[in-house]
Amino acid sequence: MTAMADSTPQAAVEGLRVSGLNTRLRGRPILEALSLPQLSPGSLVGLLGPNGSGKSTLLKSLAGLVPSSCAGLSLAGRDLRALNASDRAEYIRYLPQTLPGDIHLTVIGSMQVALRARRPLDRRDELPAIVNALEELGIAHLANRYLDELSGGQKQLVGLAQAVCREPDVLLLDEPLASLDLNHQHHVMQMLGQLTRERKLLTLIVLHDLNNVLRYCDQALLMRGGKLVGSGAPDAVITEQSLAATFSIRARLETSSQGLPYVLVDGRLPD
């Protein structure tokens, strides 16, 4: 991958480009001069790293939700730096970890908000589109239930449906699998992979389960201490050495009887 000059014609520039990103929170530098490899549409990118390595801050910085400075931030050649968070949401949609627990609003109502809050859309096709989106996630039977009656996992799925319904170019998901059971975790990962490829999305997803990254992601980014310490194909990024260096764990990569790579963790490394 080579750095392209600013004069490159727009059509030739694809995907999300991030360079020289600095973010400070309450006076403390969290990200310093962070640059990412070019990320292309249609790829599901796993974001890995220990707690406090700056994964959430990176997503929020890209979405414009925390103040940051950036040498370069562009999507398909469009400079996003001047856009504020609400305008940037047209292109980049960030999904926080959880939905608040106490909203007395139906699932369909929640989807309508996600669709209409920015500006009124053509409403004739809205309801079928919403029901369709809910069906894709397997929650159409909850359509007229209230959010404050749903389980944590069900709410998580509604939150995800809100994020994908507006069809952004870039989807930033902060631990979307938290509070989902095994079945739903795999369901969501499969669905995200499918959506990402079909709609040519770029999906950045913070995951803690390394095996989900190996299995579903096209690319992985490994962070530590606010810096990018590895990027590329998941099985190239996730190695015994990189896991020892970033997570301080002793781990092995083995191939299952079905031929899939798995991370097996033997324990912590001595401090």
Binding site: K60, A63, G64, L65, N84, A85, S86, D87, A89, E90, R93, Y94, L95, P96, L99, P100, G101, D102, I103, H104, L105, T106, I108, G109, S110, Q112, V113, A114, R116, A117, R118, R119, L127, P128, V131, N132, L134, E135, A140, H141, A143, N144, Y146, G159, Q162, A163, R166
Partner: protein
């Protein structure tokens, strides 16, 4: 698992039910309004007397009944309707933008700030050239209310106080403004003192047609802006970050809402004084029946506010045949147990 059609049908059925509920609530408010005009210290009006009073000479009626209905009861009843709606709407928007079910103009000090502003104008005898004294009073009440709302918003955003912290901060504001109000009272002369006491209790007794028209006009001016922001306000319920991800400019929505809240609260306070708890209770009732889709939640909260205040006004007249209680006392007595219940439910959750 139901088919796609049934989910959509269920949604439409639910929407229809909510609209019907809202229409019924509107009818109930009109019924209460009529009842309010019928009862009072001069006795219950029979249907014959009422017809005579209404059909007679209208506002110029010079019969005793006509005077009572046109000059006392109707302005008071319509004042209760519009003030209740204003407080209900302001309370609903406030609970959303401050993300706090215990927020209302009364509980977080906006009403007290407005009362302090009004009291200062009254006691210091401030005159704004070219503005009649009663509107000057409304204007200072608004300035104080808006300053208080801005302070609340600033603290809620910047100090990261959390929901409970904001309520404590708001209650501290209430005490502060009330203490300052007592100070103003202390230095006031006798006639100003009488006016002040009237304000601090909250009473419909001084309702006049110009006041009613001003309050209704303010409501009609503000409500369309509230309704236009309905989706953005609903989005705010999902939290700051998610609302932004829906493309909502949260700061602008919040500021506009706080401006509307200040306007409605200040005008209400300058007309009838501090009437507590309507703005707190009405949103809770509206929310539990109509949900938090603000297209229903906002009008329902306004109508519930009207119903509560008119019912309180009727109760205030029925307590004794010889006098009418200030309505603020009734709403406070009814409101405090409700407030405690809301706090306890919040603790339990």
């Amino acid at each position: 698992m139901p088919d796609a059609g049934s989910a959509a049908r269920g949604h439409l059925r639910l929407s229809r039910r909510k609209s019907t509920g809202l229409a019924l609530l509107g009818a109930a408010v009109i019924g209460l309004l009529a009842l309010d005009a019928l009862v009072g210290p001069a006795g219950l009006l029979g249907s014959e007397a009422l017809r005579q009073a209404l059909s007679g000479a209208g506002m110029g009626s010079d019969t005793a009944l006509g005077l009572i209905v046109w000059e006392i009861r109707l302005p008071q009843a319509l004042m209760a309707l519009s003030i209740g709606a204003a407080l209900g709407l302001a309370g609903a928007e406030m609970q959303t933008v401050l993300d706090n079910p215990l927020a209302s103009p009364f509980t977080l000090g906006i009403s007290s700030a407005a009362a302090l502003g009004a009291a200062l104008t009254l006691v210091l005898g401030l005159h704004v050239p070219g503005v009649s004294d009663s509107w000057a009073l409304t204007a200072t009440a608004f300035v104080f209310a808006a300053a208080c709302a801005a302070l609340l918003d600033g603290v809620a955003r910047r100090a990261r106080l959390g929901a409970a912290g904001i309520v404590l901060f708001g209650i501290a504001l209430v005490f502060t403004f009330n203490a300052l109000l007592s100070l103003v009272q202390f230095v006031a002369n006798a006639s100003a003192l009488q006016d002040l006491v009237f304000w601090m209790m909250g009473s419909l007794a001084r309702s006049s047609w110009p006041g009613v028209i001003a309050m209704l006009a303010a409501l009609l001016a503000v409500a369309p802006f509230s309704m236009r922001s309905a989706w953005q306000l609903t989005a705010l319920r999902f939290g700051e970050e998610r609302a932004v991800s829906f493309g909502v400019d949260t700061r602008r929505v919040r500021r506009a809402a706080l401006l509307r809240i200040s306007l409605l609260s200040a005008l209400a306070v300058s007309l009838v004084g501090v009437i507590g708890f309507v703005g707190l209770i009405a949103p809770h009732i509206a929310r539990s029946f109509w949900g938090e889709d603000h297209r229903w939640y906002l009008p329902a909260s306004a109508l519930v506010g009207s119903a509560i205040l008119i019912a309180s006004a009727i109760a205030a007249k029925l307590v004794s045949p010889s006098f009418v209680l200030p309505v603020g006392i009734v709403t406070t007595l009814v409101g405090i147990p409700f407030f405690v219940a809301a706090v306890m439910r919040r603790q339990a959750a």
